[in-house]
Every structure is written in C-alpha cells, then in structure tokens.
Symmetry: C3
Amino acid sequence: QAQTKDTLVLKPKASLEKWYDKISLRGYAQLRYNGLIESNPNLKCEQCDRSWGDGGDFFIRRIRLIFFGQISKKVYLYIQPDFASSAGTSSNFGQIRDAYVDVGLDNDNEFRFRFGQSKIPYGFENMQSSQNRITLDRNDAINSAAANERDLGLFFYWAPKEIRQRFSDLVKLGLKGSGDYGVFGFGAYNGQTANRPDLNNKQHLIARLSYPFLFGKQFIEPGIQAYTGKYVMAADQLSSGVKTNANRNYLDQRIAATLVVYPQPFGLQAEYNIGKGPEFNKQTDSIEVKSLNGGYVMLNYMARINNHLLYPFIKAQYYDGGKKHERDARSYLVKELEVGAEWEPNKFLELVVNYTFSSRRFEDFVLQDNLQRGSLLRIQAQVNF
Amino acid sequence: QAQTKDTLVLKPKASLEKWYDKISLRGYAQLRYNGLIESNPNLKCEQCDRSWGDGGDFFIRRIRLIFFGQISKKVYLYIQPDFASSAGTSSNFGQIRDAYVDVGLDNDNEFRFRFGQSKIPYGFENMQSSQNRITLDRNDAINSAAANERDLGLFFYWAPKEIRQRFSDLVKLGLKGSGDYGVFGFGAYNGQTANRPDLNNKQHLIARLSYPFLFGKQFIEPGIQAYTGKYVMAADQLSSGVKTNANRNYLDQRIAATLVVYPQPFGLQAEYNIGKGPEFNKQTDSIEVKSLNGGYVMLNYMARINNHLLYPFIKAQYYDGGKKHERDARSYLVKELEVGAEWEPNKFLELVVNYTFSSRRFEDFVLQDNLQRGSLLRIQAQVNF
Amino acid sequence: QAQTKDTLVLKPKASLEKWYDKISLRGYAQLRYNGLIESNPNLKCEQCDRSWGDGGDFFIRRIRLIFFGQISKKVYLYIQPDFASSAGTSSNFGQIRDAYVDVGLDNDNEFRFRFGQSKIPYGFENMQSSQNRITLDRNDAINSAAANERDLGLFFYWAPKEIRQRFSDLVKLGLKGSGDYGVFGFGAYNGQTANRPDLNNKQHLIARLSYPFLFGKQFIEPGIQAYTGKYVMAADQLSSGVKTNANRNYLDQRIAATLVVYPQPFGLQAEYNIGKGPEFNKQTDSIEVKSLNGGYVMLNYMARINNHLLYPFIKAQYYDGGKKHERDARSYLVKELEVGAEWEPNKFLELVVNYTFSSRRFEDFVLQDNLQRGSLLRIQAQVNF
C-alpha cells in the first residue's frame, strides 16, 4: 500500500489543472485572388504560391491551427498543422508545419533546447511568421534554403530575459518582428526539409546570431547565419533521364547577412546570402553543385489612421541559383519588384494588395529554356483568431 | 516612446479574453453498416457513400471537428475538417470541408460577406447539414451541382435579424432546417468544386432566394436558386481515350426550385432542377454539354415519444444527367425510393434505418452499358458532440 | 405554439454547458533518433518504425491529438488523429487512429458498446498506449494481428466498477497498465485493419478475457484472447507476378495468452500467440495460408529517485509467420533482444534509450532470400500534454 500511495503522488496532479489553461488554440487563414490582372499565364512560382499562372482564381494559401502552451515551467509545446496542404491531386489536407517542444535549462528559459520539426534559424524573413509578414511571399534567395522554412532536428537557443521580452514586443507592437529564435541559435537537423524523410544519415549544422538593438526609440536588428550539410536528391524529385552524381548527395551550404530597421514609422529590411548547392545544368543535363547568391531590400512604413494600421511597402529581390527541393534542383534566375500595402482595420482582419513585376527563368530537365516575364495584381484577405 | 505606447494599445488586448470563449469546438461522426441486406453488389453510388456494393461492412462516413466562433462583433469563423477523407488508398485523413469567415456590415450582421470555402447556396438539402438531414444521402439531382456541396469563393448573404433567428430556431426545434444561408444570397466561386484548384480563371456566379414563412404555427419555406459558369474537366478525371472539346471547358448551369413544409408534425420537402452540363456520351465516346433534370419529394413526420424523437420518412428521387466531378463526367439515370426512420433517443445519439430500392444507370468510357438495380438495408449511428 | 415550446425543451440545453467542460484535448508526441550506432543499414522493420535502416536520422514517430470526453452520463467520445501519418511521398499528415463512442448500458457504464474505429482487444501490449509502453515498439508476433492495432467495428466490453477503477489506477500509478478494455470483451469488425476499406462483407470475430488480480500489494493480470475471420489481400498490396488464391480471401485466426506481473518494483510481461494467416511462400511464389507463432518476455523494474521515474528493461521476442497487411503478406522470422531504460524526469517528458540486437528474415515476391542481422542504438524523446 505504501508503494501505491507514493506513486499516487506523482501522476494524478495533472487532473487538477484545466486542460484549456495549459493548451491554447489560435490560428490564421489566408485567401488569395490572383486573377484580376495577370499578363503572362506561364509566369509561375512553385514555392511562393501555386495559384500564380493560369487557372488562378480564388486560392486558399494557409489554414493554420496552432495548439500551444507552456505546459510546465520549463516545457513549451507548439503543434501547428496547416489545413491547406495538398496530397496527390486533392487539396486542403491537414499536415504538420511545426511540431516541437522547448525545454528550458533555467527558470527564465533563457537557455533552451528545441526538439522536433521547426523553422531552421536561417534568415529573418524565414523566421517571421506569414501571419505577420507584409509581402505575400518570402524572397526566393533565402527561402530556397528550406522548403516550408523547416526541418526536423535538435536546436539550442539562447537569449537574455530582457531580449526575449523585446522579441515578443516587436511582434505585439505591430513592428512585424521575427519572434524569438534566440540571440544565438545553433542546431543539427536532417537537411531534407520539412515533412520529408532523411536520406543520408548525415546532419546539417546551422548557427545564427541576431540582436535587436534599441537606439533611442528605434529598434534595429542586424543578424548573421550560416549552415552546411549534404542534401540528397530524392528519387521522386528526378525527371527520368536527368543525370546525377553516384550517391545523389550534394554539398548544401550558405551564409546570410540580415539588417532590419523596424518601421517606426520608416523601416528597411535587407538580407543577402551566398553559397553552394545542387542545381540543374541544362548544358550537361545533370544536377551539379553550383554557386548561388541573392537577396532582397524592402522599404516599408507603418501608419496608424483611426486605429487602423497601414503598411505600404516596396521590395526588390534577386536570386541566381538552384532550388534543391524542386524537380531536378530546378535552376533559377529571378528579378522581381513588388509594391503594395497591408491594411489592418482591426486585429482580426488584414487585406494585402500586391503588384508584382517579375522576370523568372526556371529550368529543369523537362522544361529547358524557360524565361518568363510579366506582372500581376495579387490580393489576400487574412483572418487572425 | 509615444509611438511605442500608442501601438501597445492596439494588439495586446487579445490576451485579456480567454481563447476558449472566442473559439469553440463541436462536431459529429457517422458510422454506417450496409452489409445486412444487399441484393446487388454492383449497385453503387460514388457520391453518396463509397460503402455501397461489395465489401460494404462497417464504414465511417464522416468525422467532423468544427472550430468556430464569433471572434469579434462582426467577424465569424468556421473551420471544419472532415477526418474521414481518403488520400490515395488510405482512408480517414483530415481534409477541409468548410473554411470561411463571415464579415458583417451592420451590427446585427444582417448583411455579410463570406470569404473562403463553404457551401454554394444551391438547394435546401445541400444547405442542410448532414448532422440534421434525415435520409442518409442527399439526392443525386441537386447534389450533383457540386461535389461535397462546396466551392471556394466570395459570397454575400442578407437576412433580417428576425429571420436569422428563425433559421436558427428551425434547427434547434428539431425541424431539420438548413441553417442560415440568407434570405438572399449571391456569390462568385471557382467552379471546380471543393478542394480542387481552379483551372480556367473564370468564375461561376450563383444567386438564391429562400424565405421561411410562418403561417399560424406552420413554417413553410419556398426557395429558388440558379448558377452559371464553365467547368473544366481536369486531366486526372479523364479515362485515356475519351474525347473532349478543345479546351475542356464546358457550360455548367442550373436552376432549382424548393418547397419545404417543416414537419409539424407532417412535413413535405421537394426540390427540382433543370440545366446543362458536361456528360459522357457513349454513342460518341466523348464528353459533351447535355441537358439534365431531376429532383425529389420527401414526406416525413416528427413524433415525440418520452423525449425521444422519431422521424419516419419516404423519399422518391429521379435524375437524368451527368456528374461533372466524376470520371468522364459520368452519365446517370437514377430512379430511387427510400423508406426509413431516424430515431434520436437523446441529443447525443441518432440511429437511422433506411431501406433503398434503386435503379441506377451510371456509365463512363470504361464502364459502358451499366444499368444496376437492387435494394439494400442501410443503418447509421451518429454521435453529436 | 405549444408544439414549439415543447420541442424547445429538448435541444437548447446544450448551450448551457461549456464546450470545454465536455470535450478535452490532450496528447503526446515522439521524436526518435536511430543514427548513432547502426551496424546494418538493410536491417529494417516496416511495422515498428520506418526510420530503421539507412537514412535514419531524426524521425517523428507519433504526434497525437486526442479529443475526448464523457459527453453525457452514458456516452463517451474518443477521437485521436495522428499527425505523423504518411500520404504518398510526403509525411506528417493528420489521420485517424481512434474514432469511437462508448455507449453505457448502466449508470456506472460497467456494460458498454463501442462503435467505430478502435483497438481490437487482442494482446496486452497492443492495448497499452504507446504513451505508456516502455519499449519503443511492440513485439512483431502479436502486433502483426492488426496494423496500427485497430479496426472498424462494434465491440462490447464489461468490467465491474471496482475493476474499471483498477484499470485506471494501473496507468496513473506509473505501472504501465493497458487502460480499460474490459474484463470481458467481444466484437465484430471489418478485418482489413485500420483506415482500410472492407473488401469481403465478412466480419472478423474476437473475444478477450483479462483480469487484474491484487495479491497483497502486487497486481497480476493474466489474459486470453482469440479472433477469427477472412482477410482479403488488397490489389495495392500485391507485387505484380505474385500468385494468390481465386478470391484473395485468406483464413486469419489466432489465439494468444498473456501474463503481466506489474513492476512493484520488479515486473514481468509475457505474451505468446499461435494461429494461421496469409504468408508469402517463396518456394511457390504465392500467398498461402500458413501457421504462425511467436511471442515475447520482458523483465522490467520501476525505480523512483527524487521523484524521477526510471524503468530499466530487457525484452526477448520471436516470431515466425506472415504479416498480412504488408506487401505480399510478407514472410517473417524474427529473433530479437532489447535492453534499455525509460527515464521520466517529470510527467511531461520521457526519454528512452534502447539497444536492439536483431536477426530478421523478411521476404516477399520482390525481396526474396533476405536475412538481415545487426544491432542499433535507438533514442526517443516523448512529450506528454
């Protein structure tokens, strides 16, 4: 009986706290419409938004349900399925984006380990939630580091308590912050990007340093980040006939610099990266390790008008390199200019209007010599709950 | 600092209200058993219930989790995945049925816009939730207007406050109402039906008028609705060898009339539609625009016995036309008679027993000359939560 | 008006109780790492863990969200999707594991019917949740009775109130109980295993008897269970060229014995089963009904050290037979020894380290003559919420 009483102490406590105080649900959803003005139906961007190009009427880009909570003093849970994921020819299935746990090492969780699938800490715009980002899509140059920005692994983050609060404020204040991925981050992960199995038993390694300085009232966040690893071209990514190296393992390494001047009210956001990775070469019909480089600059502004928020912006981007997670590590040369604005009439609704001028060369074994130019008007309605 | 304080006002309010007072979860699930009496294993109905025909033991028809809430005075959220959806050869994946937001224009939300994937307002039985419907499946004639009754688009609904309340009461009173799709509805949507990408950059347009009159104590709701658009036969819907027109765009337009006499205690429900749409023609091995027509009449009764509810019914239906979302726009000639009853011992459980006499001709490029007759006994247990 | 008032009594009560007091959410997730020590990349186990063998870095084994609740005095709901399910080449989709309702016949729900998809009551280790199990995977011998341990059907369970409490305590006390599948269980189910449609209109029948005795302070649970039915080899399970019998229906029947001495602090768990079922025969290139037998013995220990729990264990298993739900009813001869320990620093986190010595022959039409031996170190982190 003594044994029984002792063990009783450990577990049943759980039933005293209410589940809904431990776990919360929030989320957001995005509906797009690209069909209003579109000069070239062959201008597409697989990673940005599958509704570019022909047949681009209404399109659900994201339906996110986020189950999260500080389930104990040192354990934080975050599970985020997206219900706008495709499986075969049918759309809008629920698939995991994030599924991770943070385990703090100290009482303020200044030092913490993150286990599971989460964003790899590479690039400010990648870290920034799509819920907060002003532009409709991330830039090709840095977003091509990882499909869905995520991978499966083990990460370590450190930030002092005061800066953790600042990361949080930069979102809450409407300044479009990245959230808290630490002042310093370090990690090891599979390297095949989100929701894809590992193929080579070798991990990618990554490190990042980012600090949100406060100069007077102005927040400025410079950052630097780099990763290295071997990416394996999976069988289902390859066109029949394309040549690869023997074990289909390719060097995949990049370094990026970031500068964010938060919009108070004028903002500037710029990132650039260089590196090497697999890329289709149409001269040889093969996938080879090639150099890549590119980045973007965005100017934005935050205006408050009668409790409405308005963020006009202009963004220019460039990318020359491959996209490892696309067919045959598709080769890209992207030059793009976007102008637009995000309007938040209240905290529940957002509307973005985005005019894009684009020149995109994207080529794989099947689609060689494919340079597409054009412009399109894009509209997005977002609900936050 | 002023800037910071000002912006602080806008966002952090969210944390004051509890998430579970803003978002609610409810749902229902249906388990079917068709194997008791079944005279013809080749008698099937893809749109009704994939467990008709051979191998029809236990079958989960729906597992619905509904996340919903009036998240602000004028913004209503409704996200409903179904966890009984198939992906490839495996079943019971979570896939979106509804994902929409209603934005009210006035304080009573009498005028509202609906963004996202939702039911297209065509037909009373289509609007009525499967949670409330008495018969196990919807009629072929009107349900063939849209797979899963839904599509992605932008809709406008209007109903006076008093009638919004009445729509709500017609469900709460056990009268099997449709829910509130407005007295007047109007919309534009992709036209390829739920969870399928748009293919032609042209929208379908729809309008509906429906009014639940109260004569003495008796509710009677007549309605009329119509839509028009171009449906594109998708590549994965076509048998190899079947002929189509050049761009695979087909006229798709219908008009339907509805009369509902709510069961107080005797009820009558009748709908009929005519129109044109793609249909397989076995004489020419091609998909052509053809006329379609059909509808149903149902007589039902609501009995209360010791707080149990019992709804006996008899329903006859007829449909002659194509089903655009099936293989080769499969050609149908359906004559069917159903008798049965729904029993609700309490608000959590329902049991339906349904005897079906059916004659179904359904033909595509692969399965030509296919007339199937027979009868079967079907049973469904439903849980509401 | 009388009619209206009367009917009002029945339904609107629902709105008085809060949804979150009726439905609760809990769950758990498991992250594995198999890449540290692995002597043979061709040593794999499809049913255990797809990350054995080459490319086995980080791997999410389970992400379970459980929506459950006693929604009325006699109706209990349990819906459990797993968000680590694969669909085609992409991972981490949400797919149902459990979706059932228990309907009690008496006020203590001692007698209850279970409708829906749930675990078939065959084997103690199968019933025991992966959240509670010490070893990383279930034994091949008894787990091969049903993929994912589950099927769709109708079950009856009986247990006296006092023993229902004991089943619950055996989990809460950290003794790794099975949960409550009744002292006596009986059921009829499709027989094609979880999330697969029925193919033969014939049900499997199952019965189980299991009783957790208390001798002094020591809990001991012996059990016996058996099932019989016809399994149909589905078209998508067959290699092209493999021979089957005419209607692909195969006898599938087993009987198993269980003995569990709960770890107070020393524990012993042993199960064994014999039976017949479909199995690939490489002599004839065909799938035939063959005999099968196998089981396991595990010794374990529960230690409490400063409120941490530690469970060291050693487990030996053997299986000679087919796995009906794998390609060509793959033929197996498994001999395996595992040693390891589970460490629970608190109720939210668990870490398992498992060293496996394995000899596995697994052969189908494509992979004939395939005996793999080796050893590997496996690590799992689990979060409970």
